[in-house]
Symmetry: C2
Subunit: 220 residues, 2 copies
Amino acid sequence: MSVPERKISYKIPEPTLRRLPWYLSCAKLMRSQGERYVSSTHISRQINIDSSQVAKDLSYVAISGRTRVGYEVDSLIAVLEEFLGFNSMHKAFLFGVGSLGSALLQDTGLAHFGLEIVGAFDINPDKVGSVISGIPVYHTDKFSEIMQKDKVNIGILTVPISISQEITDVMISHGIKAIWNFTPFRIRVSENIVVQNTSLYAHLALMFNRLKDELKNEDL
Amino acid sequence: MSVPERKISYKIPEPTLRRLPWYLSCAKLMRSQGERYVSSTHISRQINIDSSQVAKDLSYVAISGRTRVGYEVDSLIAVLEEFLGFNSMHKAFLFGVGSLGSALLQDTGLAHFGLEIVGAFDINPDKVGSVISGIPVYHTDKFSEIMQKDKVNIGILTVPISISQEITDVMISHGIKAIWNFTPFRIRVSENIVVQNTSLYAHLALMFNRLKDELKNEDL
């Protein structure tokens, strides 16, 4: 017996949202090369995606290109950054200051893309009370209290799988609305909670498998 | 004009490969709770995926369950770890010891899933010559020389977008077969090269967008 999948229909299709950051980095690269205008054909050629697809994807972000010259690079970058949420700061709490959790606390790149981790939680006495890259580590018991002071919608999950579901439930019961799940565990949440799965291990498995196939092909 | 997408058909479908790590963590969790057998129905209930799908996915990994009792937990874990490549060590070089690159060098969790980073490359004189979590950082100019000594198939890309393609080409010309791309840039490679894209920023964009939609729904 399994609960049905989320049925909410979002405004922007996921494949489009996945491609938009590619267009953004392509536009940034072109700006750094001194270009002032960029067309969907140019983007298409650079990143190997059909140009009609590029144009269609970009139609979601309410920018219009000029015939022949295309989009103004600066405007395209500004509009995409705004649209993707990289321009406004989203506060987050991180749960589980292990190896991956500490690594994420130290990745200052996230702040440039709109994510500000304002606090971390763990139960390990060696970690509680410490400060990593300016981010305080609290005991998990303090979450309820700290959540009341700070308006935070996002929780980053980097705990061991044995407590992934438990910590998810704790986060949600205190008002977290979106969970960035780095654990290889598939967490269960109610329909109105956003889950973004980013399992590095699942990606590793995919890469290992494809690599094995390629190496076999080479040996033939 | 765009080059056609890769046409290679792999043996295991990507959605199956993405789900297998979920079954693995589910089985590990059940073992930690003292269970000796696990059925696809049980996994299905735990992680909210249709049980016939679970059974179908597991049929790829050549393990057979016993009627009524299901799979032996220890065997299922062993077979899945072997199948996913987590049991054998895959050597990798990392390019770009910035914020995210350093974070990955410090994530000891990767080694538990079969990835051993044996060297890192950068051009920043402050970084070249240093050792991070036991991993030496070399000047990028040394890559050719070091690649000849060590048999490495995997390259991890964490450089700025302005040099993503250039470094990709350098890696491939020296024999790298698979690229784990953490940059938001869509790199171009030939058909026989495996690319695994893991853009944290694309995932952030997805999460921000979904969260915005959910918060709007709440306000209605």
